[in-house]
C-alpha cells in the first residue's frame, strides 16, 4: 500500500506506529466511533527540535546565536553589542561565555520585530554543516505528512518548544503550516518602549517562560485551557507533555527515537547525566508509540541525497 494515492503517510514504512496513527485518526474522526472527538478538541502538540527537524550537531537556534554573536559581518551594530557584552561581563560573572554574550545581545535593546527579522534573514541562507542544506529543508518528511494528515482531518496543530517562540515564528507558517499564534514556546521578558512616542516591544535578558518538561504542560494549559489528544516528542523534555495528552484510549503519544546514524544521528532521548526514570521507560510503561527512525521512516527528507537513502 506504500506510495499509492490513498496513503496519507507514504514516507512511513508499514508497521505498528503507522498503523496506530491511521487507526487513531479514523477513531477520533468517525462520528459513530466510541472514541470520536469533536473538531474543537482535536488538539495536537509537537515538540520542534529533534521531533520535526534535525537538532544535531547543534540546535538551529544556537547556530543562529553563534553567527549573530561571533560573526561581526552580520552585525549592523556590532560595536553597540560589544559594549553591552563588555558591560554584562562585568555585571554577570558566573555565566558562561555564550550566555554572557547573549545577555549583552539582549541588553543592547533589540525589538521583537528586529529579532524575528534577523532570524528570517539568517534562516533564508544558513546551511547545515553536514547536509549542506537550509535548516528548513531538514524537517522530517514523515512528520510533515503527519501535520498535513492531521490538518486535513480537522486537527489544530501546535508547536510546543523549549526554543524561543520568536525564533520559530518567522518560518513555521511556511514550513509547517502552523501560524504565529500556534507557537507555544519559551520566551524572554519584554518591555514596552515608548521612545519618540513610537511604541516598540523590546526583549530583555531575562527568561519569562521556559517550555521544557512541566513548562510545556503549563504553557499549553495557559494558552489553550485544553489537553491535547495527540502529542509528539523526542526527549525527556517532552515527557510531561506526552503524559498530559489525554490518557484515555484514544490519545496518541509518540516518541521519536533517533536510531539512524547513517541517514541522521543516533542518540537517546535523555540528556547526559540524567539519573531519574528514563524517557524510554516512560514510553514503555505508558504504552506510547516509539518511532524507530531507522526502521519506521522510509524517507527522512524531502530531497534526494545519499544520507536520505535507505540503508
Amino acid at each position: 500500500m506504500i506510495n499509492n494515492n490513498h496513503d496519507p503517510l507514504p514516507s512511513w514504512h508499514e508497521g505498528k506506529v503507522k498503523q496506530r496513527i491511521l487507526e487513531f485518526v479514523e477513531q477520533v474522526t468517525t462520528p459513530e466511533s466510541e472514541h470520536f472527538v469533536v473538531e474543537e478538541e482535536r488538539i495536537a502538540t509537537f515538540d520542534n527540535d529533534g521531533t520535526l527537524w534535525v537538532e544535531k550537531p547543534l540546535l538551529a537556534q544556537m547556530a543562529f546565536y553563534k553567527k549573530e554573536l561571533l560573526d561581526a559581518d552580520v552585525l549592523e551594530d556590532a560595536s553597540k553589542i560589544k559594549r553591552a557584552v563588555n558591560w554584562s561581563i562585568r555585571g554577570v560573572k558566573d555565566l558562561g561565555g555564550l550566555t554572557k554574550m547573549l545577555v549583552g545581545y539582549f541588553r543592547a535593546g533589540i525589538t521583537t520585530d528586529e529579532y524575528r527579522e534577523r532570524v528570517a534573514q539568517w534562516i533564508a541562507k544558513a546551511e547545515h554543516p553536514r547536509y549542506k542544506r537550509k535548516y528548513t529543508e531538514l524537517v522530517y518528511q514523515p512528520m510533515q505528512e503527519v501535520l498535513q494528515f492531521f490538518t486535513e482531518h480537522g486537527f489544530t496543530n501546535y508547536i510546543v518548544s523549549g526554543g524561543s517562540a520568536n525564533f520559530i515564528r518567522p518560518w513555521a507558517d511556511e514550513v509547517y503550516n502552523v501560524p504565529e499564534n500556534r507557537i507555544i514556546a519559551s520566551s524572554s521578558r519584554t518591555r514596552l518602549s515608548k521612545r519618540d512616542n513610537e511604541l516598540a516591544v523590546k526583549l530583555e535578558a531575562m527568561p519569562f517562560s521556559f517550555e521544557y518538561r512541566s513548562g510545556k504542560v503549563l504553557g499549553i494549559e495557559r494558552r489553550l485551557a485544553k489537553r491535547p489528544i495527540a502529542a509528539f516528542g523526542n526527549s525527556l523534555g517532552d515527557v510531561e507533555m506526552l503524559r498530559w495528552a489525554r490518557t484515555t484510549q484514544q490519545s496518541l503519544c509518540v516518541l521519536i527515537h533517533h536510531t539512524d546514524d547513517v541517514r541522521e544521528y543516533k542518540y537517546g532521548p535523555d540528556p547526559r547525566f540524567h539519573f531519574g526514570k528514563s524517557t524510554l521507560k516512560f514510553a514503555q510503561e505508558l504504552n506510547w508509540q516509539v518511532v524507530d527512525m531507522k526502521n519506521d521512516w522510509q524517507t527522512l527528507f524531502n530531497f534526494e541525497t545519499s544520507s536520505n537513502k535507505e540503508v
Copy 2:
C-alpha cells in the same frame, strides 16, 4: 437605514463612530482599496470589563470571589480554605482582607479545571444586583454586533483583559463566539502536580502576567507576534493597546465612554487618583473614535427593560 436587513450594526445610532466602523471594514476588506488587509492580519482586540459587558457596581470576577470566599454554602471544602486563609493571614500581613482570602483560596490547591468549573457554575446562576439578569446577559448588544460583523468579514477577534483568562474562558465562546485560545488575559502562576501519578495543573497565589496597560501590548505580542488593526477599550488600562493597534490610516481605535447614567452607569475612563495624561486626552490627540454610550447606542442589551429604553 436603521434596523433594515442590511444594517450590520442595528443597535448603533447613525453617527460618526458607526460610519467609521463601517468604512473601516469596507476599506480593509476591499481588495482594490489602498487600505486592504489580508485575512491573517485582520486582528481585532477587545477589552472585556466595561467594553463588552457591564463592569459596575463591581467587576463580575470580584462578585464571583465574594461569593466563593464569603458564602460558605458554595464551598465544598470551606474548612480547608479557611485553614489556608488563616495560614496566609499569618504569612502575608500587609495585604487587604479580600487579597488575604484570595491567597488562601489559591493556597488551598485548586486546579485550573476546578476553577473554571466553579466559574461556570457561578455564572450560570449569579444575578447582577441592579438589572436582576445573569452577567452574560449584560453584554452590550452594539458590541456583540461589532464582534459578529468583524467575524463575518474575516477578522479574528481576541479578548485582552486585565481579568483572569480562566474567569473568562468558561463562557466567552458561547457569549462572544471567542474560543479559549483567543483569550489573552491575566494569569496566576501555575505548577504541575503529579500526585498519584495523575497530572493536574494547580493555580498558585502569585501573579504570572497582568494584562493591564503595557501588559496588554506585551500579552498580545507574546501570543500573536502581530499588531491588531482594530482595538476597543474603555479605560486607562487600554491606552497602550489602542496606541499599539497599527497607527496607520486604516486602523480603528475605539474608546467606549460610559455617559449614560439612566440606562447604565456614568463614569470616566480614568481610575481615581490618576494624575498623568487622561485617557480622553489620548483619544483626542490620537484621533480615536469615542463612543458616547448615551447617544451612540440605541439599544444597550439584548432584552427589554426600562433601563434598556432610550431616554
